[in-house]
């Protein structure tokens, strides 16, 4: 359930960025700060960071072959991990806030508050995102750019601005995700890897090109991971998630709702 947020749809030109890299490293921000304030600040900070990265790196490389962009994203991951190791050390940290230990009892079920926050937060973000894409002009511009860059340019859409926007939204979402999940898990520099893999598994599982499918996939896979953690072993739960994705790839490469990829 938790992983619903981390599924950031791959917008504009498939610029890949290691969402999870950011996640891990901005968690520790809210030492001593009010949780909700920190949430907002983290999101904003990440958005700004995204803008900076976009300007320095991805914008320069907009005409480079796709692979180079992935390598750049990978380099970014390495740098961030290195920085995190340096500043925060390799040991795990615990993000404590008033909610962490509290539990609400509701019709006889003990519900940890933090988890509720995560679920509600995810739903809110998803709805907002959906509205943004489908109902606003900028959202439409984003979709157009994602589908056909040159076409969008011809329509007068400022592609650079849109790409930057996509990036910022993406990193901002990562910030939200990180802040929501942070209190629920242990913090360590590579904590982003697991969620990232599940997120991509979800995208593949739900179908490339289908946001709804990806979200559904995220929920299903999140469920699988939890069940696996509970019944089999926490260490190996990731393997189950991954395994399902592999099975999907072998038998139905398009995923559950995949759209046909346009091949020139």
């Amino acid at each position: 359930m938790v992983l619903g947020i981390l599924n950031v749809p791959n917008f504009a030109q498939g610029h890949l960025y290691m969402v999870a890299a950011y996640l891990g490293f901005y968690m520790v921000m809210s030492y001593g700060m009010n949780y909700w304030l920190a949430l907002v600040l983290a999101t904003v900070a990440l958005g700004v960071f995204g803008l900076v990265i976009y300007g320095l790196v991805f914008h320069r490389m907009r005409n480079a072959p796709e692979v180079n962009l992935f390598v750049a994203a990978m380099a970014l991951l390495m740098v961030l991990e290195g920085i995190a190791l340096y500043f925060f050390g390799a040991s795990t940290k615990w993000f404590l806030i008033p909610f962490t230990r509290r539990v609400i009892t509701f019709i006889g079920l003990a519900l940890p508050v933090q988890r509720l926050i995560i679920i509600v937060g995810t739903l809110v973000v998803m709805v907002l995102l959906e509205l943004f894409i489908k109902r606003t002009a900028m959202g439409a511009a984003l979709e157009a750019t994602a589908q056909h860059r040159e076409g969008a340019m011809l329509c007068g859409i400022k592609v650079t601005r849109i790409s930057a926007m996509a990036f910022i939204i993406g990193t901002g979402l990562a910030g939200i995700a990180g802040m929501l999940i942070g209190p629920a898990v242990l913090l360590e520099p590579t904590m982003g890897m697991g969620p990232l893999l599940v997120a991509f598994s979800a995208i593949i599982f739900g179908g490339l090109g289908s946001v709804g499918g990806a979200v559904l996939g995220a929920f299903i896979l999140g469920l699988v991971e939890s069940l696996a953690s509970g019944y089999v072993s926490a260490k190996y739960s990731l393997i189950f998630v991954f395994g399902i994705m592999i099975l999907m790839l072998l038998f139905r490469p398009k995923g559950l709702f995949g759209r046909e990829v346009w091949r020139p």
């Binding site: 791959n10 320069r60 992935f70 390495m78 190791l85 190996y236 790839l249």
Partner: protein, 332 residues
């Protein structure tokens, strides 16, 4: 005659000199440098492996650290716990690794671009999880130790080739570097190599020309997995000790950095890149845990400003003097 011209061409002469240097230097410089060179040699083999699947076939796999680890662990387990002989164990380990590579390649290569990268990365993470978690088999975080060196080989003229000394291990590993280098060189210049390169340029076009791109990609992937496996076994036998750290995906990323900095899609690139990025930190005495950070920064700079790497830059500015011709990714 054509053959003589090739043997004495500037390129061939350059390679000869490099080889002579590689053979002659270690006895002179002593233990510390030699052990550095051994590690460089092993990672160069890894770099050749990445060069095949990424530099020449265009698929960025972040999972190859897992193949290195699988081979290292398989080899170590069957020699230490099952007391299998060195050479049979070597063979079994790399065949098994190649097999795993084949199995992983089948679903993974159905994906393109970022999805392929993520799946291979996921594979590396999963293998890491298994190696760390299956303590009974792999010793978990403590790793395995007591891994043997190659058995002494009786020589035809009497006497034996022993592998106890550092120098002997160096030449043993150098032998594999040269062998693999020649293998890769021949492969990429053959028709099959040309197919790989075509796939990296435009997979759809290649497919429309009747080539089963999936099977070719799988071939490249499997071969590169085997090469990574060889690097793994060599590491295990040299170091006598292995730990899960070996399979960590960051190692795979480091190798990609070496490759890009040296020049992907060239023959000299892997060697130059690995040499530079492994020696510079040593020389500057940089703390080990900053290694990935430094590699990342350097990689970032290169991929933005010099995407064809050092050799690639030479290639474009000094007219293909040093390398095979494939011009790689990047603006030019």
């Amino acid at each position: 005659m054509e053959a003589i011209r090739t043997v004495f061409s500037p390129k061939a002469v350059a390679w000869m000199l490099v080889l002579i240097a590689a053979i002659a230097v270690p006895p002179i410089v002593g233990g510390y440098v030699t052990s550095m060179l051994i590690l460089i040699a092993i990672w160069t083999i890894m770099c050749f492996s990445m060069n095949l699947i990424f530099g020449y076939t265009g698929q960025l796999s972040l999972g190859h650290s897992a193949f290195l680890g699988i081979a290292a662990y398989t080899f170590s387990l069957i020699t230490v716990k099952l007391h299998v002989g060195f050479w049979p164990a070597f063979l079994i380990a790399i065949v098994f690794t190649g097999f795993v590579g084949f199995l992983v390649g089948i679903p993974a290569l159905k994906l393109r671009g970022p999805y392929f990268i993520l799946v291979t990365l996921g594979f590396a993470v999963i293998v890491g999880v298994i190696v760390l978690g299956w303590i009974d088999l792999t010793g978990g975080a403590n790793g395995l130790f007591g891994i043997p060196r190659p058995n002494p080989i009786p020589l035809p003229g009497g006497g034996t080739l022993r592998f106890d000394s550092l120098l002997s291990m160096y030449y043993f590993i150098l032998f594999f570097v040269v062998l693999i280098g020649i293998f890769c060189h021949r492969l990429v210049h053959s028709l099959i190599g040309k197919r790989f390169i075509a796939i990296s340029y435009n997979e759809n076009l290649t497919e429309s020309l009747g080539i089963n791109t999936m099977s070719q990609k799988l071939l490249s992937f499997t071969i590169s997995a085997i090469l990574a496996g060889i690097a793994g076994v060599l590491y295990a036998t040299y170091n006598a000790v292995i730990s899960p750290e070996l399979t960590h995906f960051a190692r795979g990323m480091d190798v990609v950095a070496y490759l890009i900095v040296g020049g992907a899609g060239t023959m000299a690139g892997p060697i130059v890149g690995t040499l530079v990025l492994m020696t510079v930190p040593e020389v500057l005495q940089i703390l080990p845990y900053l290694k990935t950070l430094i590699n990342g920064i350097i990689l970032m700079l290169f991929i933005i400003f010099l995407p064809n790497g050092i050799i690639g830059w030479f290639n474009m500015n000094l007219g293909g003097w040093l390398t095979s011709r494939r011009a790689v990714h990047g603006s030019a």
